[in-house]
Structure formats: C-alpha cells, structure tokens
C-alpha cells in the first residue's frame, strides 16, 4: 500500500506542489545549468543553486552532504511525514534508493584535489560523501530506519528498479519500505554523457532537446494499510534484461510478466506512464502494449522533467499515483503528440484504475510496475 510520497525537483517540492506545477508548468524556463567556465552548457532542469534541503529535513544531517543526498533526504522526509510511519515500524523499515550517477560532483571534486595535491590532499568529506550509498545511509540515519539499506546503481530505469526491489522486501516480510530514485546535476558528468550521445538527443516531441533533470522522488509502501483513505497498491513489478536477445523482446517479456503477476490482461491497463525520453522510446512502449492488445492512455513526463535517470523513472510513480488519486490523465508537454499514444497536451478527467509505470535503460534493462486503486 502506498502511504507516503515525497518529491523534490525544480518543478516543485512536495507532492501537491509538484503535481500542480506539472499540470500547469510555469512559463519561464526551468533550465538553470551550473557549468564551470569553459565547459559547454547543456540544457538542464536543475535548481539554480544547491538545493535547500535544510528547509525540509534535519539541518545538521545534510549540512555537508552531497546534492544527491540532500535531495533524497528531503524527499524521504516528505514521504515519511505523509505516511506518518509509527516509530514501532521504523526498526524494520528498509530503504532502497536507485541512482545512476550517485554523488558524482563530490566524486569528481575529490579527484580534482587528488590530482592537484597528491594523496595527502585527499579530502575526507568529499570521499565519504562520494561513496555510492552515502545518500541512502543519510536517509536511514536521519529517520532511524534499521531495515536493509540498499543503493541500486543502474541506468535510466533504476528508480523503478528500486521500487520493484522494495516491493520484494514487503513480500518477504518487511512491514514498510522507503523507495525511489535520486539524481543530481553535475556539469562534467552530464557533459560526458552528452559527448557519449546518451542525452541531449532531440526528443522528437517538439523542437527542444532533452534536458538533463535532477531531483528525487521517494515513496513509503507498507504491507498493511492504515487509516481510512482508499489506498493505492503496487500490485506487481517486473524487471528484465536483453542479454543476447533484443531490447524489444525484453520489453515484451517485462510487460507479460507484470500483467501475469497482477492476474490481469494487458487490455485492462488504463494508463501508461512512460519514462521514454525520445519519441522512439515512447513509441516502443506504446507499440509493445498494442501488440499485447492494450491501448492505454499515455503520459510521457520527460518532455517536461528532462532526463533525470533514476529520478526520471521514480517520478513515473508520483505521476501515476496522482493520476489515479485524482482520476486525471497527466498531460504530455510536447507538441505534435502521435494519435497512437492517446496522450493529451492538457490534463483530462478520465476514469483510471490501473497505471503501468515503464522505464528502459540505454543498456537493455526494463523495469515495470503496476499501480492500482485498491478495492
């Protein structure tokens, strides 16, 4: 059962603020890349300065923390506040955080000092904060969560993969999990990815290229419902890889698996929240579903949120949950939407019961999750 959602990204901090801004984005550009001198600026949906995590969570705990940890700590705090998780559950609550780039800025700053000053110049704070699991460790520590604390490192889908791994913890006896994805902007890493052609591709939904995105989206799921609000359930998840097969085959296998695990036919899906970053990627999702007899309404949020890797795939959960909770098709903020997507540039009131969250990585990984209105 989904009992708490937290999100921190340039579009909005907090579930309602994010949702309101997603439905009606501000007219001014969200991009504010922080780029060192001499480096080509890449389009970015990022905070203009370091994210003010201390407004949302323990100030001392995040004072020296890396940006990705600050984002995760704030989103985690918001999710836990919303869930009002009893103290008795915290000793058994697990954390699963997905990230593709980790605390890349500190990692690179550590190396810069190392190169300039030698081994004696190694900086302890930069080192400890650059360890990949520093963010999940901060989250566990701040909130006193003593279940397993995992950081999953991966590609664009790893925020959803974390969601799937968190659901496994519930199935195996954990009473609650805090799961999601977080990603920070780091000019050098993003410049490298641009160089590799991994981002900055034309989205094909309009004239704008895919921007880099940063943010964190975390959620609390519990094995048993509390309270009287009609909850949302994470009914099934699936993860596959291409191996020596094709990405298309891996995608179809994931879709079949998630529907089979939920005990539904694909045609029963009402909404696809696709973490595809290009027209081709979203098309692939829509076509694969069509091949299975499904034609759900579609939302492709990266047109607005940018390529946020783990955050981008975790954000599909926020949009799926809000769509089900408000019975609203979230818009896809792009021109010339293909009719086959059944997407809309404006919010639409529609009956929705089941939302499929779907993400793929550039290296052949697929993560899928099914969110459903309980009862």
């Amino acid at each position: 059962m989904l009992t708490g959602l937290g999100v921190a990204c340039p579009l909005g901090v907090g579930r309602e603020a994010f949702w309101g801004a997603y439905l009606a984005p501000p007219a001014e550009p969200l991009s504010a890349p922080r780029v060192r001198e001499g480096l080509v600026a890449t389009p970015a949906v990022c905070f203009p300065k370091d994210f003010p995590a201390e407004r949302y969570t323990d100030r001392r705990a995040v004072r020296k923390a890396s940006e990705v940890a600050r984002l995760a700590a704030a989103a985690g705090q918001l999710a836990l506040d919303a869930a009002a998780l009893p103290d008795g559950l915290r000793a058994e609550t697990c954390v699963v955080l997905g990230t593709a780039l980790g605390c890349s800025r500190y990692y690179l700053e550590f190396h810069e000092k190392l190169q300039r000053k030698g081994i004696k110049g190694a900086n302890a704070v930069l080192f400890t904060e650059s360890v990949f699991n520093a963010a999940s460790a901060h989250v566990s520590r701040i909130h006193g969560l003593r279940g397993a604390a995992h950081t999953l490192a991966g590609g664009e889908d790893v925020g959803l993969a974390a969601l799937a791994a968190g659901r496994d913890r519930l199935l195996l006896g954990a009473p609650a999990v805090l799961v999601g994805g977080a990603e920070q902007y780091a000019d050098l890493v993003h410049a490298s990815l641009l160089h590799e052609g991994r981002v900055g591709r034309a989205l094909g939904l309009g004239d704008a290229p895919v921007a880099f995105g940063e943010g964190a989206a975390l959620a609390v799921f519990e094995a048993e419902p509390r309270g009287s609000e009609a909850p949302l359930r994470l009914t099934a998840t699936a993860r596959t890889r291409a191996g020596r097969g094709t990405a298309e085959e891996a995608l179809v296998r994931a879709l079949r698996a998630v529907c089979a695990a939920a005990g539904i036919e694909p045609a029963a899906l009402d909404l696809l929240v696709s973490a595809g970053a290009t027209r081709g990627e979203v098309d692939a999702h829509v076509l694969a579903l069509a091949g299975l007899g499904a034609s759900p309404r579609t939302c492709a949020p990266k047109a607005l949120l940018g390529e946020g890797f783990a955050f981008g795939s975790a954000a599909t959960l926020v949009l799926g949950a809000q769509a089900l909770a408000t019975q609203t098709l979230p818009p896809t903020h792009a021109a010339a939407l293909p009719p086959s997507w059944r997407a809309s540039p404006e919010p639409e009131a529609v009956p929705l019961r089941r939302a499929l969250l779907l993400a793929q990585s550039a290296h052949g990984s697929v993560s899928a999750a099914l969110l459903e209105v309980a009862g």
């Binding site: 302890a124 999940s136 006193g144 003593r146 296998r253």
Partner: protein, 391 residues
C-alpha cells in the same frame, strides 16, 4: 543452493589457489609502486591482482569476468541454461569507476576543451551489468547493489530473494571492487589504513590494508539444479541485513546493527546461535569496528563467543570493500567444503577492552563444520550476515 564459485584476489586467481595460500597463512600485500606515493608515506601496500599496466577499467572488468567464468564453469555452464529465468546480481562499492584520474589529467593539462569526456563513461555503471548479461545471456532481473563493504553479501541476499520469490531459477552473483587510487587515498583521508600489520581484535590495532577482490557464485533453486544433474557445494540457508542508522563512518558503538543482521540471518535460517560452528568476521582491524563487532557477537552468541572460531581474512587478503561480502562468502563456503579453518595471517595480543578470550584461529586446523556465518559490515552503517550450510 550454491553450485559454482569463482575468485580472484591479491593472493591468487582461482578458489583452490587462494585457499591453499590462505591455509599456509600467506599474505597478498605488495608495494603500490605505480601510485604517486610520497617518499615518506607510511601506508604503501595493498593486495594487488593482475597487471598494473592495464587500464584500470579494463583490468577490473577482466578480473570480474574471470571470477564469473570460474563459477559458471564449476557449475558446468558457460552461459545461462534458461536465459529468461536467470538473474544477475552484482555488489560493488565503486563499480570499478576508475577513469576519473585520466579525465582530470586531461582537463588540468588542456582545459575543458581538451578534457577526455569519454573517460568519464565509467560513471555509466550499468555498462558492467549489460556486458555480463550479454556475455552469459542472463535475461532475468539484474541489479547492481552498491552499499559499500556489505555490497557483495547484499547481492547474495537479493539473488536469494529472486529465487525464493520464484522469479528466477538461477542467479549469477558477483561481488567486486578493484583497488584503485580513489579508495586508497580516500581511506587514507579517514585514517583507516595502516602501514603495519592488520591485527583483528588486537591491542594497538591501527586499521586495514586494501585489496583487489572479485568473487562470483552461482545460486540455483535446488530442484532445478538437481534435475540438471548439478551438484550443490553448499546451501545459503540464511541472510539478514540491517542499517545502523547511527553515523556515516562509525559503527554503532554497541554493534546494534551488526547484531540485528546476525539475528535476522539466524531467524531466516531457522537456527539457534548454537548451530553456528564458525564465523567469518568482518574484522577490519580498526579500533571502533572490531569492538562493535565483538559486542554484537557477544549479544548474539553469549558466553559461547569465547569458543566460537572467528576467521579473519583481511590480514591476508586486505579489505576488498564491495567485494568483501562475496569474497569472504566464497572462503566461508570453502571452509565447509574442506572442513577446516584458515588462520588469521597476523594477530597481536587480544585487546583488553574485549572482555572474553577469543578463538581467532592462530593456525590452520581441521574442524567439523555444518553451518558457517559470514559477516560484512559497511560504510554508512550497512550490515549483512550470511549463513551457509553443508549440502
């Protein structure tokens, strides 16, 4: 059940070669002559495996592949027998991101215009998953868990979960980290390394040395392995994890998280503490960590802590970081296979703050072993305990 194991460490390539050298109490350390060590640097050694001239990223990946091939080969496999039902789970702290120095050299020498941005692609940690998945045709779920020095053990737990939940019949699990300048300098900065001997639970212990570590295990559902005629080496019967929720670099002083992990592993295994015949201890030989682990062992095993054999591998192999949980799991499993205990390669007088005599296995010896526990505790307060049983 475990049907294959593979290992590359600073001591040797291969499980058997490593075992033989551990049994003889050999140590893997050598001077890291290719690092920019200051002439007066006290810490100069690490446990290095392979060719220092090879590019770091390629070196690490080659050693990882070698460990995986050994494990699959022992199981009689070269690729997954049923790809869609075969998972891949990796555990690593750094995922062998070792190209940042090359990038910075180019940036500092020629400015942003000359920077080798392509060198930073090692940030793309998923490429490692992709390569192994393609190489061994593993098409089921895949994950790279990165929770510092517990990562290798956590990877085994995640893989076992996939089997328990019925989503996979086989999982290739690997834990690894390459010794590199990043960790060497970083652990120096937090004063966790020693230039002297690694002395677990000893008075005056001053820390660890770092080492290369690449370990792989093939886990299979028992009925599937038996039907295919693959023999079990051992069974992974329990694992438990926890977070200290205390401090980023210091363990909980009473070992609360470590105790929780061990208790959770015992609970899943359905075993009482008395059923554990030996513990492969995490034992980094830092003052705080060893004391916390002792207190956790005391809380779980009570007065039996005095007679329980505690196997410490870091004096011989170094701390293999994200690889440690898997590297030491493989050796724990080898203890069962050989019905013997390997010694701690170096020991000092027992720390007087430890209120009990401990069996730190000063010399190799035969032992009747049915269940061995293996601990891996990490930065950020991540704790994982595994329990292996004879088949």
């Amino acid at each position: 059940m475990v049907t294959g194991i593979g290992l590359v460490t600073g001591l040797a390539r291969g499980v058997n070669s490593t075992w033989e050298r551990l049994f003889r109490s050999e140590r893997a350390f050598c001077e890291l002559a290719h690092y920019p060590l200051e002439p007066d640097a006290e810490v100069r050694e690490g446990a290095w495996a392979g060719d220092a001239e090879t590019a770091p990223r390629e070196r690490a990946h080659a050693l990882l592949v070698a460990a995986c091939e050994e494990a699959l080969g022992q199981a009689g496999l070269s690729v997954a027998p049923d790809p869609a039902r075969s998972a891949l789970v990796l555990g690593s702290s750094l995922a062998a991101q070792a190209s940042a120095p090359a990038f910075w050299s180019s940036l500092l020498a020629g400015g942003p215009g000359a920077a080798e941005l392509g060198a930073l692609k090692s940030y793309d940690v998923e490429a490692r998953l992709a390569d192994l998945s393609q190489r061994f045709d593993l098409r089921g779920e895949a994950a790279l868990v990165s929770n510092a020095c517990a990562a290798g053990a956590s990877a085994l737990g995640l893989a076992a979960d996939a089997l328990r939940l019925g989503r996979a019949d086989l999982a290739l699990v690997a834990g690894f980290d390459a010794l590199d300048l990043h960790t060497f300098a970083g652990f120096q900065s937090i004063q966790a390394l020693t230039g002297g001997d690694v002395l677990p639970f000893s008075q005056g212990r001053a820390g660890m040395k770092l080492g290369d570590g690449f370990a792989a295990l093939v886990l299979e559902r028992g009925e599937v392995a038996r039907a295919a005629g693959r023999a079990p080496l051992a069974r992974l019967v329990g694992y438990g994890e926890s977070a200290d929720a205390h401090h980023l670099t210091q363990p909980h002083p009473e070992g609360l998280g470590a105790e929780l992990a061990m208790r959770r592993a015992l609970e899943l295994a359905g075993l009482e503490p008395a059923a554990i015949d030996a513990v492969n201890v995490h034992a980094t030989a830092t003052p705080a960590n060893d004391l916390a682990e002792y207190r956790a062992l005391l809380a779980v095993f009570g007065e039996r802590v005095s007679s329980l054999p505690l196997v410490a591998l870091k004096p011989a192999l170094g701390h293999t970081l994200g690889g440690a949980g898997a590297v030491e799991a493989v050796i724990s499993l080898a203890l069962l296979l050989h019905q013997a205990l390997v010694p701690s390669a170096t020991l000092g007088e027992l720390d007087p703050e430890i209120g009990h005599a401990l069996d730190r296995v000063p010399a190799a010896r035969p032992a009747a072993l049915r269940h061995v526990m293996s601990n891996a505790f990490g930065f950020g307060g991540c704790n994982a305990s595994l329990i292996f049983a004879v088949p």
